[in-house]
Subunit: 446 residues, 2 copies
């Protein structure tokens, strides 16, 4: 059987490896447009933070290992341009501009996502960069050194923007962040978002939310981000305003699209064409709370969906359950984590959300090193169901969030969650874990 | 209504506070034999570690607050000696040896647990101490200073023994640990137990497991713990060989006892007498996995059971679900956590356990600060059910354990657990959380 995969990142390479493990005789071909496969994209900001580290340090497995040890026909520098579903053929061009054509029995689209490019005059000029591929990272890192960047402006304030902010600050670069919409992290509970804002301010970061960006201009000494009411200067500008799914090739092939133009897939990762699957950032998913379609591109899901796609190509009938949208990020000394819905999202999905935010402590009463932990919890007034949680703190936020994530998968009520037997020792939390305290408070309002 | 409570620690004071909140007019009387209530017993080792901290620092709420602000008739120095269930009367003696007698409509026994005293000649002499009450902590802390302790022997290697070991080492005291049974932490997977052993050795702690202790002798310079095949000298000896439930008063009253002589209670915390409840370390519980009786004295359960007891006394019909035995402790730079059953316990409960142990990393590929994380996972071959997990590592073990704990409450299968949407960011773990990697490995064997 010919299993063709477009895209050699998390989902694509997971699928290729899994398919060869399942069926060693299968002809597995991967078309990757860049020259890099299997690298930790999420690790880029942390690598960029350290001038001593090589960017290639992020490569988890070399291309040759896939080829020689796993027998995957991995073709880098191969840009797939067109799928012909009737003929079951994919055509494209190599990096040397040579045309190619591959037929398939089953095709997996794992084209990932790409940074959304804000519609701002001057966005394409030198010194304005974004971060997605390893090559973007390479270029950005070289730029920092070669241009002796001392001051940078980041457009956007999402996870990647915040991680890049920290990375640049670690290199002694002064950073201003700017975006048109007011609110640092609008999905986050206001008080907790303010905690993060204070953390950024305390590290000397300029936070300018609610400023319409009109253009990026070249100046004598660098670049200037001109807003309707102010101007921010820097040696470079990084845009990090979110990502969009790499679904154009699927759309052109007549495949059904879904939320945010992601590729619509069923629980077995099949698209609207029975011979074509999609997995990773380019594809949609079902939400664990509602079983409705959602699009939340995250790395674990990409790996998991790649596996599931391969299993289904190999004749198993694997259904992936939904996703909870569990995510975590670091902002200087703070950890911020979320899972499930906030009140606004819950309301949109037809729930009657009630939420509570509490401030607890990371360690037991008077334990040395104690610091605040904030927990926001959302439940449904009608059913009593747990709908989501957010945690912010200097310690214990990142790994705590997995507990409510599991509870969402189990469709637990707040009442059930509040009775779960959590760990306690003085160095790691109060007797009542902050998550339980939040749930206890919420229970009173349900 | 007269609600009488024996014991003013976690369960007793939780119950008293909750009862007064539920029904402000209720006459709530608490008989506490010591002069301390509402203190963090688990925090004692960490307090002892620091000569500068006052032991009274561990008191979370002063007795007067309970009396004046909450209207609880809190009587310290009141030792309850006897319950007369027919007359619904409790009698006893105060610290000044004055007899007292209280009648009740409902009685809560919250007598906690006390350190098991090993049967070793010489165990009662000065300089041999154990740790349970705040007064024990007070005495131990004074002893360290007044006797200029430089070397200590700890009998036992459980949580408290290990925490005390770290506390003494923090004060520059050289520590040897000894116990008759071989194996540092016999419930823990061997390889992970060895990781903890190495950590202790690297901190200069002497670990002597599998040495029968014959007697403790006074010497010219201090004390000597004499084993059948060796001798350990110290300025003091601490025994920490586990705890036993404070169930004598219940036994004498004819109440039904349970595992390890704990007081048998139903899910509403009622004992075999319909007017008497029990909660906290003195009472048993149902295990979440089997719904069978178990006795695992832990602080969160004590608080929760105190609340539930009060709610039931106040006429609500609150049933507590089972416990998972989720626990965590710190050993120098290591965190160790567990929930549910290990293979041996699972087998005893009629399961066909399969287990896997993996070594993963605390952070993403090549992320700075990366260190090993070990995860042991147990599942049932017959049903595919998740039965338990253990995690050891320098970071991320303590809070991760709550996720499988929640999964145990939800009676998840390993297959369901493996699909849960966990958080990922490079500073906090690999893309596949170590718990998921362990579950993936286990799935292959189920």
């Amino acid at each position: 059987m010919d299993f063709l995969i477009i895209g050699g990142d998390a989902a694509g390479m997971s699928a290729a490896s899994r398919a060869k493990r399942n069926m060693p005789d299968m002809n597995v071909v991967v078309l990757e447009m860049t020259r890099d496969v299997s690298y930790s994209a999420c690790g880029m900001p942390y690598n960029i933070a350290d001038p001593e580290r090589e960017i290639d340090d992020l490569v988890v497995r070399q291309a040759d290992v896939f080829r020689e040890k796993q027998g995957i026909n991995l073709l880098t520098g191969h840009y797939a341009e067109k799928i012909s579903p009737q003929d079951k053929i994919v055509t494209g061009r190599t990096i040397q501009d040579k045309p190619f054509s591959f037929s398939y029995d089953k095709l997996l689209i794992a084209t990932g996502s790409s940074p959304a490019v804000p519609d701002i005059p001057g966005i394409s000029q030198p010194g304005v960069m974004s971060l997605k591929s390893l090559d973007d990272g390479r270029k950005l890192k070289s730029y920092l050194t070669e241009n002796n960047v001392n001051k940078a402006v980041i457009i956007g304030m999402g996870y990647i923007a915040l991680e890049m902010c920290e990375a640049l600050a670690a290199r002694g670069i002064q950073v201003d962040m700017v975006k048109p919409r007011a609110g640092l992290l609008p999905w986050m509970e206001q008080g907790m978002s303010d905690v993060i804002r204070e953390e950024l301010k305390s590290k000397g970061i300029g936070i300018y939310d609610g400023h319409k960006i009109e253009q990026i201009q070249k100046t004598d000494s660098g670049l200037s981000v001109i807003c309707s009411d102010m101007e921010l200067k820097g040696d470079m500008v990084i845009t990090a305003v979110g990502v969009k799914p790499g679904s154009k090739i699927a759309e052109d092939a007549g495949l059904k699209l879904s939320i945010g133009n992601s590729i619509a897939v069923n629980k077995q990762m099949f698209t609207s064409d029975p011979h074509i699957l999609a997995a990773g950032d380019c594809a949609d998913a079902f939400h664990i709370i509602t079983d409705q379609k959602t699009w939340i591109p995250l790395a674990l899901r990409a790996n998991r969906a790649g596996w599931a796609a391969a299993d289904n190509v190999c004749g198993q009938a694997i259904e992936l359950p939904g996703i909870a949208g569990t995510a975590v990020f670091k902002v200087f000394d703070l950890q911020a984590a979320r899972t499930g819905f906030n009140a606004k999202e819950a309301e949109k999905s037809g729930f009657e959300p009630v939420e509570v935010t509490i401030k607890s402590r990371s360690r037991a009463h008077r334990h040395p090193g104690n610091c605040p932990v904030w927990v926001q919890i959302t439940g449904d007034k009608k059913s009593g169901r747990l709908l989501g949680m957010q945690i912010v703190g200097k310690e214990g936020a990142a790994h705590r969030i997995n507990a409510p994530a599991v509870a969402l998968h189990a469709k637990m009520s707040v009442e059930q969650f509040v009775q779960t037997d959590m760990a306690y020792a003085p160095p790691f939390g109060p007797t009542w874990d902050p998550m339980l305290t939040a749930a206890n408070q919420l229970l009173k309002k349900l």
